[in-house]
Symmetry: C2
Amino acid sequence: MTTRAEIVIIGNEILSGKVADEHSAFLCREFRALGVDVRRVEIIPDEVDAIADAVRAAWERADLIVTTGGVGPTPDDVTIAGIARGLGRPVIRHPDLESLVRVLYGKQPLKAAERLAEVPEGATLISAPGLRVPVVVVEKLYIFPGVPETLRRKFHAIKSRFREAPFHLKRIYLAVGEEPIASALDDAVAKFPALLLGSYPVFDRQDYRVLLTLESKDLRYLTEAHAYLLARLPQGAVVRLDDGSPQPRSAWGEE
Amino acid sequence: MTTRAEIVIIGNEILSGKVADEHSAFLCREFRALGVDVRRVEIIPDEVDAIADAVRAAWERADLIVTTGGVGPTPDDVTIAGIARGLGRPVIRHPDLESLVRVLYGKQPLKAAERLAEVPEGATLISAPGLRVPVVVVEKLYIFPGVPETLRRKFHAIKSRFREAPFHLKRIYLAVGEEPIASALDDAVAKFPALLLGSYPVFDRQDYRVLLTLESKDLRYLTEAHAYLLARLPQGAVVRLDDGSPQPRSAWGEE
């Protein structure tokens, strides 16, 4: 079984175009490398109801949920309240977090510092080497901050717990456009329904016109599907083949 | 009334970490400049059911919906089928699009080319100068391609139809962290509930520690809220004030 993950990115600053979302690219890449299947990313505002709705819906569908953003001490930080409402739990102060916050923010006004110790009831804390503040988890839901550096540091510190069987990838680079290969792809998908197939035209390269990606966690199935498809592509269409998963370019698309 | 928009980004290549999403940043920035309020971004897989569910939910909530991706001729391009299912309409071939496709793809296999002429029943086409292929629209839902250059070209060609009253923005840069200002922000939000307030700490700058953003479409309301908040911030906390909306940095966050 592949873990189905969802990512909920909470932040008015992203929706209002002030900050570009970096979290989805980071988390999708990391989760893929860990063998986790990200099924959905949502970017929603810093509003209790929007967060509650998104968390409730994700909870129904996903095996693993990550939220980012909205966990500071100011009034736009309502992630904890939203998650608690979505899961039908009260907000409480976690005693361990409260002790930590008193050490870290001892000199600040009590009320703001206390907010940083709030969690949905039943939350647990995950500590790891290098983390000043632990990650707050509610069963399958992991609450991460919105600051990119802090998110990354925290994610890397605990990511080993998400690791499972990897995806295998084969790539086929083609000298022709999508139209002349569409029926071969249709055949391959019909014969190998579990194959994860992507077809990405590019317009600004001389060396190929379409990149096909074939993926599966089952290497044997992938190898068979790959051979089946190669045999059906138009003669002379294939420019290059490779495996592995370095970062492709971002100019892919389907038109 | 501010238009409430939702963006549905369709693409396995993003969820599997192969390509970083560029669409949400582009569309959020453009819509904000047009005065449109983006309420949600979703990134979902190239699957008919996932698309149908996302479109159905967005249709209930939003005044304006944009989809990107999944509109080519290969089997991973199922956006049209997904939107049609989500809206409970059949897929038909649009006669004008069919004629155009025959001109543009005349030499390609008929079946693949025909797919490019498919639309949900009731769809209309928006042509504009510089567009080789028109934008397909189903009432309030605009279907854009996933190739970034093509998406941008098409969006710019028709964006004037989305323009409405602009958002006004004021920024306050602070020499102190979030904790000592949290109660002043609480007061301002209580007094000006319609104010859009953001509080973003930064960790890697010498010149300020927190950036506050105050926004409203009502300039007078914004000015009053701004003055009210300034009067309540700790003495010496304010480093700098400005208006307008150039691109801030991406290292904002709440922790």
